[in-house]
Amino acid sequence: MRWKKKQIKQEFIKLYEAPEPPGKQEFLKQFDTCYLSMGQFMWQQLLYIKKWMWLFSAGIFFLGTMLGRNLDRETVWVISALIPFLALTFLTESGRSKIYGMEELEYATRFSLKSLMLARLGVLGLFHGVILLLLFLCIPQGFFPGPKDLMYVLVPYFLTVSIGFSLLRRFRGREVLYISLGVPAFVSLLVAVANQMYPLYSISMVKFWGLAGLFVMIFTVKETILFFRQTEEFVWN
């Protein structure tokens, strides 16, 4: 008789089939509160993000689409100047523990500050990503000729996040709140002033945006790594 692998497996399972353990449910009751799946964890953290952050982000999106209706090459900077305020919510959420001076306590909790931050910022970042993409697509039909103009929305956003992370690592307490509010305002102003001094949105500046995009991405990745490294538990703790 020829034995196939599937048959051997079935016979094996039958041979080592264990009877139902009678005390399982009773025993596992004591662990009921401990188990949390990844989906449940993400959902739980999503609920901790304050409502005003969602509303504020949605508000920026609607303002962007309203302003975007009558844009041309001369006034497109308005959208770029608006985007840093979208990152404001991201920075405020990043520095929430520091604002209230709770970060050291949260290093040692069951779900460390790092995992909480990763979950919350991941969800918020995803939401912002969708908003940026929609904004890019909604702004006057055909006005942005190609993906290169995506930089008009990405560069201000990531510049705000990277500068914000860089400063958040160095401060705590109320200063964090001022940084979260000040950095977007600074980047927004920077875009407006730079636009007055140089023709940033002309066709000849495509290379500038490409390089700026690359630089800002690298800076953001570096700052994000350093920022999250700081949320890890201290070695001596």
């Binding site: 020829r2 034995w3 051997i8 497996k9 016979e11 264990a18 009877p19 353990p21 399982k24």
Partner: protein, 151 residues
């Protein structure tokens, strides 16, 4: 993987080692208590590997303590298990005989793969072998088993 699934896997493993339901369940519960008693155990890369190791050590301790009692219980459990159609009993007997040709590690590798459906990575962690070494061992064991069954 949730706790119920972990419990079932550890219980099946203990039952495979001890062939006695009450003892297998006691050891499963003791494994859980020890595993959740130490934070370092839970933070490892393969928590199942840690649980299997605890269960294996506890089973070995039980073997040492109550050697003779187990031999009698094994017989009893076997009789209980061999209920069902005649073909099943014949196949089970043939498989049991073929399994005797394998070494302990190969038998456990097959058990982990077939019954508990563990990955080669977890099995490898338990025996300090690479995934490829476990895979080769698994294939070799299967080949021996098939040869013995077809005799």
């Amino acid at each position: 993987m949730d706790y119920e699934e972990q419990y079932d896997r550890i219980y099946r493993y203990c039952y495979y080692k001890l062939k006695q339901r009450e003892m297998a369940e006691d050891i499963t519960q003791e494994t859980f208590l020890r595993f959740f008693g130490k934070k370092e155990y839970q933070e490892g890369e393969h928590p199942m590997k840690v649980m299997y190791t605890i269960a294996k050590n506890l089973c070995t301790d039980e073997f040492r303590k109550k050697k003779y009692m187990f031999l009698e219980d094994v017989k009893g459990e076997e009789v209980l298990q061999n209920k069902g159609p005649e073909d099943d009993i014949v196949n089970a007997g043939a498989l049991r005989l073929a399994m005797e040709k394998l070494d302990d590690v190969s038998r456990e590798v097959l058990f982990f793969r077939f019954v508990n459906q563990e990955s080669f990575a977890v099995i490898g962690e338990m025996y300090h072998l690479s995934r490829y070494a476990v895979y080769r061992k698994y294939q070799k064991a299967l080949k021996i088993l098939r040869r013995e069954l077809e005799k």
